[in-house]
């Protein structure tokens, strides 16, 4: 199909709108309210152009690009005088009330409104009347509100309510009084509120933590990176200046995170600047073996020599980590020997991850990308609160539920991007989604059916649905309903995960997917997806997957006395082992060497600690839940004596003259050795270009072309400017020189294009709106799927184990929180503030029985300890189950599946309510 814009022939796709067509053709047509992920509503009137009836028509009429569907041979003009005048007039009217505060606005320099104002040529204000002002609101520690800057494009409300499913932000009042905010001040409830920063075309919503140590976009040094917050593997672009990580922005990957991140990913990297970061190696005083012994800071070389002395020729065990890169884990495994390497998973985690990998290797169902999940037309969630364990996936599921409305729209010939019309048509009709879980989940509000069952019962239920699909009748009406829903769907999605630490649930989900695929024959696509606990759980799982008898962490603790030393890689064992097992490891004669980045009790009890670089200071490969290997690159050089963990291990190997690792000195050599070590890692070298990559003779620049202060940044130390750091390990340079245009998709540090300073410049990097990046087409896509299913299908004889519960005791189930459950992000001040207190979650009846209300305290007693925890009352919960917040300091020693007794904490006193000048505030909780 072809349209003409100013006489130029443009190839267009059927069904798209003229704005998309123009942007795809590389034309600059200004817009505000249209967003590639949210479609058109035609409210800002900015993308006006002239449409002509036929070649003879010279007058034409003004139409909105975003609301006009392309038709073959249609004629438009972008540059016609009345169109340009119209667009300038629109900006002028939008700017009537816009304050003159760009110098003190955090959006300045990457502001879509600035860009569009310049683009339409509006320069002088003619309006001399008074400007409207609005009161701002406190929206929590993450988002700063400045309503004066609003141009009422409605993007924030459409994103927050319609796209992300939030309910506490919306438009108020009418005409020029329109206001976007909450009904009253307070923390934004949505886990995806951070995207408002990128969605808002001006500075109404800005990144609050970034504002505290703000730098302009052009001053940030960025590198392509991967979020280490959970197993989804969202692509991010962190920015650094003056040695501090300033902010994290989204990095588009059309198959993974698209345009959006969750708040943990966007705001959870503050720990990188934390005071609790380790700067120097520490050696515990001469042979002292008590937990409170202080460390003496030692030089890198001394630390290496000491460690090598402890390891060389001795019997050594290694403990890996699901949050360290694949390369680091691989090196450690080779260094200590494969049979002496424990993955570092807890036993339960290891079993679930192993199950997930084995399923992905053989299943006949499709292992979907997030983009594919958005196309599901029926969803079954088994035992997972996805919004808290894999947040970005939950956002995709909310979009999948709209497929019902797209179906209805198709019947009327309505294009999907006609957002308001499509939503109006569907009203509250959604595609079906059944959530089978033990407790409340954050997707409950859009589920068609909620079923509360204990983990073992969830597996049973899933087996019953499987049996029902295979033709067995079930007494349970719900089983039949779910079976009917799945068999009626064209693209059903079954999604489960590891959060309940139950391999039974995972296996039963796989069985169900197999049965469903068999039921549907090959014609339709059954999707099966899993959430995994950490950023590199899958990579680590794959590394040890072929092991006949993997060394379990609990067994390692038991045989600790038989070895001379243990080498721990970025792993806080307190989160995975019981106190008695920890005592075994730390109180014996065995030397313990720990590599980590933040202070924790494992480090405190080790004999030698080595400071490692965070994800933003190192490079490595992380394998996400769909087994996509993706690489992150250092944004800046690690400060003090920090090194990447693979650098520590390489140096150790060199001093120890390790035979197997001889000849490996660089990152790319580790990747190559790892890719050859197992067939599953064969594609590892294709994940991203190696360090020899050059774009027109130059490396990819980390800095923008307008990076300022080059000759003054270090002038306080010495006026003699040091050379830029050289980077011989990656295809990126610490430099302004080079092109950031159409390099491979995995090497885009930031987006910018002439005239497009904001993140909207992304469309210049995309092959088409919502499509893959240009670099992904020209070179390879970002990341590589490691597991390619053999499609043999599984043969499971599933035997669900039921825990035996005594009377008066409850089964303890893990509840993950976006803020607080993840180990590293919890060190970030803002995340810690949102995480609040550790809690125990009870059903209403249990709470009533114990005589406690929300916010009061309950004593949880397990076999060997008693912990007093704050009560959270759930709206639904499976019989005999209570939940606890995972990953909080107070609940570190609680384990999923523990059987516990509960009683009201009698020593607890309600906090005094004190009046402050800002109204009544409660003190204490």
């Amino acid at each position: 199909m072809i349209i003409f814009v100013d006489g130029q022939e443009i190839e267009v796709k059927q069904g798209e709108n003229v704005l998309e067509a123009c942007l795809n053709a590389g034309l600059d047509l200004p817009y505000f309210c249209w967003h590639p992920a949210m479609g058109s509503i035609g409210s800002c009137r900015q993308c006006a152009l002239v449409q002509y009836q036929n070649p003879e028509d010279t007058r034409g009429r003004i139409v909105m690009g975003c609301m006009t569907q392309v038709t073959d041979g249609a004629r438009f003009s972008l540059n016609a005088q009345n169109a340009t005048e119209f667009r300038e007039a629109v900006v002028e009217s939008l700017m009537l009330n816009h304050p003159h505060d760009c110098p003190v606005c955090a959006e300045g320099g990457e502001c879509h409104l600035q860009d569009m104002t310049v683009m339409v040529g509006h320069r002088d204000r003619r309006y001399t009347g008074k400007k409207n002002t609005h009161r701002n609101q406190y929206l929590g520690p993450l988002i700063q509100h400045e309503m004066n800057r609003c141009i009422t494009c409605y993007r924030c409300e459409r994103y927050y309510r319609d796209y992300a499913g939030g309910s506490d932000l919306g438009a108020q009042a009418s005409r020029d009084h329109v206001y976007f905010g909450r009904h009253q001040e307070g923390v934004l409830e949505s886990e995806f509120s951070g995207n408002l920063v990128e969605v808002c075309p001006t500075g109404v919503f800005t990144d609050k933590p970034f504002l505290k140590h703000y730098s302009r976009k052009w001053d940030l040094q960025s590198a392509p990176s991967i979020c280490s917050g959970c197993g989804v593997g969202c692509n991010i672009s962190p920015g650094e200046r003056y040695g501090k990580l300033k902010r994290v922005h989204n990095r588009y990957n059309h198959e993974v995170n698209g345009y959006f991140l969750c708040d943990r990913g966007r705001f959870g990297s503050g720990y990188i600047n934390s005071d609790q970061r380790l700067d120097y190696s520490g050696l515990k005083g001469a042979g002292l073996k008590s937990a409170d012994a202080t460390f003496a800071a030692v030089h890198q070389s001394q630390a290496i020599e000491t460690a090598a002395g402890w390891l060389q020729g001795k019997k050594v065990l290694g403990i890996g980590s699901p949050r360290a890169s694949l390369e680091s884990n691989y090196l450690l495994r080779e260094l200590v020997g494969r049979s002496n390497f424990s993955s570092g998973f807890s036993d339960a985690e290891a079993a679930v991850v192993r199950s997930i990998i084995n399923i992905q290797k053989t299943t006949v169902a499709t292992n979907p990308t997030i983009k594919q999940m958005e196309s599901a037309d029926a969803i079954l969630i088994l035992g997972e609160d996805i919004t808290n364990t894999a947040p970005r996936v939950a956002l995709a599921l909310r979009q999948a539920l709209r497929n019902k409305s797209f179906e209805l729209a198709e019947q009327l010939g309505l294009p999907e991007w006609q957002d308001a019309a499509v939503r109006n048509l569907a009203q509250d009709q959604l595609s079906p989604m059944v959530i089978v879980s033990a407790m409340d989940s954050r997707l409950d509000d859009v589920a068609s059916q909620l079923i509360s069952l204990s983990p073992a019962a969830i597996a049973d239920f899933s087996c019953a649905v499987t049996a029902s699909l295979q033709g067995q009748e079930s007494d349970d009406k719900r089983v039949q309903q779910v079976a009917n829903m799945l068999s009626a769907a064209k693209r059903p999605l079954i999604i489960s995960g590891s959060s309940m630490l139950s391999a039974n649930i995972v296996d039963s989900a796989a069985c169900l997917a197999e049965a469903l695929q068999a039921h549907k024959q090959a014609a339709q696509e059954v999707m099966l997806s899993f959430c995994v606990p950490e950023a590199n759980s899958m990579g680590l799982g794959l590394l040890v997957n072929e092991d006949k008898r993997p060394l379990r962490l609990s067994r390692l603790a038991k045989k600790i006395d038989t070895v001379d030393a243990v080498l721990i890689l970025e792993n806080d064992l307190e989160r995975r082992l019981s106190q008695s097992e920890l005592d075994l490891i730390f109180s014996g004669k065995t030397r313990v060497i720990s590599m980590d980045l933040l202070e924790n009790n494992t480090l405190a009890r080790s004999d030698l600690v080595l400071p490692v670089a965070s994800y933003a200071e190192s490079q490595g490969t992380l394998v996400n839940a769909e087994s996509r290997a993706q690489r992150h690159y250092p944004v800046f050089e690690p400060a003090a004596e920090r090194l990447c963990s693979w650098q520590w291990l390489l140096q150790l190997a060199a001093v120890m003259e390790h035979k197997k690792l001889a000849g490996i000195a660089h990152f790319d050599q580790i990747v190559e050795a790892c890719s050859k070590s197992q067939p599953i890692f064969a594609d590892l070298t294709a994940v991203a270009p190696d360090h020899s990559f050059r774009d027109r003779g130059l490396k990819v620049p980390r800095q923008t072309h307008r990076y300022s202060g080059r000759t003054a940044i270090n002038a306080d130390v010495s006026v003699h400017e040091p050379p830029q750091p050289t980077d011989c390990e990656t295809p990126l340079a610490y430099s302004m020189e080079g092109l950031n245009r159409d390099q491979p998709a995995s090497l885009i540090p930031y987006v910018w294009s002439p005239g497009w300073n904001s993140n909207q410049s992304l469309q210049k990097f995309q092959a088409e709106v919502n499509g893959p990046l240009k670099g992904a087409l020209k070179h390879s896509g970002a990341g590589q799927r490691l597991i390619k299913s053999t499609q043999q299908g599984l043969e499971y004889k599933l035997k669900v184990t039921h825990p035996r519960m005594q009377k008066g005791r409850w089964q303890l189930l893990p509840m993950h929180r976006v803020h607080g459950s993840e180990e590293l992000s919890a060190y970030t001040d803002e995340i810690a503030e949102l995480a609040a207190q550790a809690f125990v979650a009870l059903g209403e009846t249990v709470a009533e029985k114990l005589g406690v209300a929300e916010g009061e305290m309950v004593v949880v007693s397990t076999a060997d300890q008693e912990i007093s925890l704050q009560v959270k009352v759930l709206s639904r919960v499976a019989k005999n189950c209570v939940g606890f917040s995972v990953g909080y300091d107070k609940t570190k020693s609680l384990r999923a599946g523990d059987s516990v007794a509960l009683r009201r904490d009698k020593s607890w006193q309600p906090p005094q309510v004190i009046a402050t000048d800002r109204g009544v505030a409660s003190n204490g909780c």
Binding site: V104, H134, H177, S708, T711
Partner: protein, 171 residues
Amino acid sequence: MLSQLRSIWEILKHSVSKLDTVQYPEQKPYLAPRYRGRIVLTRDPDGEERCVACNLCAAVCPVDCIALQKDTREDGTWYPEFFRINFSRCIMCGMCEEACPTYAIQLTPDFEMCEYDRQNMVYEKENLLINGVGKYPDYNFYRVSGMQTAFKDKGQAQNEAEPIDTKSLLP
């Protein structure tokens, strides 16, 4: 003959004409206030630092000799935590002054900046700040515009209406 006499006359005339050479440094030449010499950071009429750390001067600087970091005061105003100019790189082009939206950075008619040690050419904020308003006596950015601060509520900047009550039903 005539031309030779004229040449002698011209030469003799110069022996009594006014000298163009100035005996610098004993004699100082007149430099206009707009002369582009040493850079200073000025204060507003209330005595507060004018600089709001918008970074425009650093961005426009062709030799990249300005580096600063934004911070926020308790009253909500932005200010530079540090502000550094490396005068050994500065070419006195005046682009920073042109870019400055708050009249904070100004060039002065002082060009006498000689140091034996180049390191002394690096000026920090305390070296750059003067106790005065420079060439623009009346301007105070936050009184004209900018965000709400402790001393200026919404609607109190120039040409601003009182904040809108979104709950009002009045037309």
